[in-house]
Symmetry: C2
DNA sequence: TTTTATTTTCAATAATTATTGAAAATTCAA
DNA sequence: TTGAATTTTCAATAATTATTGAAAATAAAA
C-alpha cells in the first residue's frame, strides 16, 4: 500500500466525518441534513461543483440536490456560477464562516423571530382594566422582556458583523 | 357583553397567540412544539402549575406533559416545586429571558457544537504529504476557520452573559 | 424550428420525530 | 406493610418533514 493510498484514505475518512458531522449539526438547527451536507461538500471543494457531482458524492437524487441548492442560495450561503462555453451550472459555497454565521442569523431572525415580535408589539398595548390584573401584567412583563431582549440581540448582531469585517480585513492584511 | 368579558376574551386571545407563536418558534429551532408551548404557558402564569393544569390548558396527554417538562428541566429553563402538605408537583419557568437565552446557548453548544469541534481538532493535524495538497489545504483552512469562529463565539457568549448580569442588576436597582 | 442537455417541480413515498395512553414505577399516608 | 395518588416510561401510532423519480419546463445548439 503506497503513501498516496494511505494519504487518500485518511483524507477521505476525514472528509466523510466532516460531512456527516456538519449534516447532523444542520439537522439539529432545523436545516435539512442534506442541505448541510451539500454545503459541507462545497466547503471542502477547492473548485465549484455541478449538481451531478454532488449527486454522486452524496448518493442522493437529482431533485433533492436541486431543491437543497435552491435553499442554500436563498439563505445566501451558496452561489451559482457559469463556465464559459459550458451548459452546466456550477455551485460554490460561501467559505467565510463569519459571513455564513451572520447570513444565517439574519435570515432566521427575519423568518422566525419577526412574527413573534410583531405579535408582542400588539400585545404590549392591550387595554387597561382593573380585572385579571396579575395575568395581564405577567403577559406584558414577559412580552416587554422579550422585546427588550430582541433589541439587545440586534445590537449584539451588529457588533458581531462589524467584528467580522475587522477579522476579514486582518486576514487580508496577513496575506 | 360586560367589560370583564371583553377583557377576558382579549387576554385569552393574546395568550393563545403567544402560545402558538412561541411553539412555532420552538419547532423552527429544533425544540418540540409542545415543549415550547408548555414553556409559554408557564411564562404567562403568575403561579407555578401542575401537570394536570398544563394538560387541560394545552389539551395534550399526560405522558407528553411529563416528557416535555423533563426536557425543559434538563435544558435548565424550568424547575419543579413542592407545596407544603401537597402531593402534586408544581412547575414554573425561568422568566428572565436573558437567562433562558444563555442557558439554551450553553446547552446547544455542549450538545451539538462540541462534537464538531472535536472532529475538527483531529482533522487539523492530518499527516503532511505532497499529494492531494489542495484538497487537504482546503479542509485544513475550513476546519481552522470554523475553530477560530467557535473560539470567538465563545468569547462573545461570555460577554453576553456578563451583559445579562449587568442588565439584571439594573432591573433590580430600578425596583 | 426541432433536438438535446440540463434543471425544476411536485405527487407519491420513505424516514423521522412527536404524541398518546395504558401499564409500570414511585411516593407517601394510613 | 397496603393502597391511593401521582409520575414516568415506552411500544404503538399519528403527524411532520425529507426524499425520490419521472414528467414538465427551460435553455442552448443544430
Amino acid at each position: 500500500m503506497s503513501y498516496l493510498c494511505v494519504m487518500t484514505m485518511k483524507y477521505d475518512e476525514a472528509k466523510h466525518r466532516f460531512i456527516q458531522q456538519w449534516g447532523a449539526l444542520g439537522s439539529a438547527w432545523g436545516i435539512s441534513r442534506t442541505m448541510a451536507q451539500i454545503q459541507a461538500v462545497l466547503l471542502l471543494s477547492p473548485e465549484p461543483m455541478t449538481a451531478d457531482e454532488l449527486m454522486d458524492e452524496l448518493g442522493i437524487s437529482r431533485g433533492n440536490v436541486s431543491m437543497s441548492l435552491k435553499s442554500l442560495i436563498e439563505w445566501g450561503v451558496a452561489t451559482k456560477e457559469y463556465k464559459a462555453g459550458e451548459r452546466k451550472e456550477y455551485f460554490k459555497a460561501e467559505k467565510d464562516i463569519y459571513r455564513i454565521a451572520t447570513q444565517v442569523a439574519h435570515e432566521r431572525r427575519k423568518r422566525e423571530l419577526e412574527p413573534v415580535l410583531h405579535m408582542l408589539e400588539s400585545i404590549k398595548d392591550m387595554d387597561d382594566q382593573e380585572i385579571t390584573k396579575s395575568k395581564r401584567e405577567e403577559m406584558q412583563k414577559i412580552s416587554g422582556d422579550i422585546l427588550d431582549f430582541a433589541k439587545k440581540s440586534d445590537s449584539l448582531l451588529k457588533k458581531f458583523i462589524s467584528a467580522e469585517k475587522n477579522w476579514f480585513l486582518n486576514k487580508i492584511m496577513k496575506l
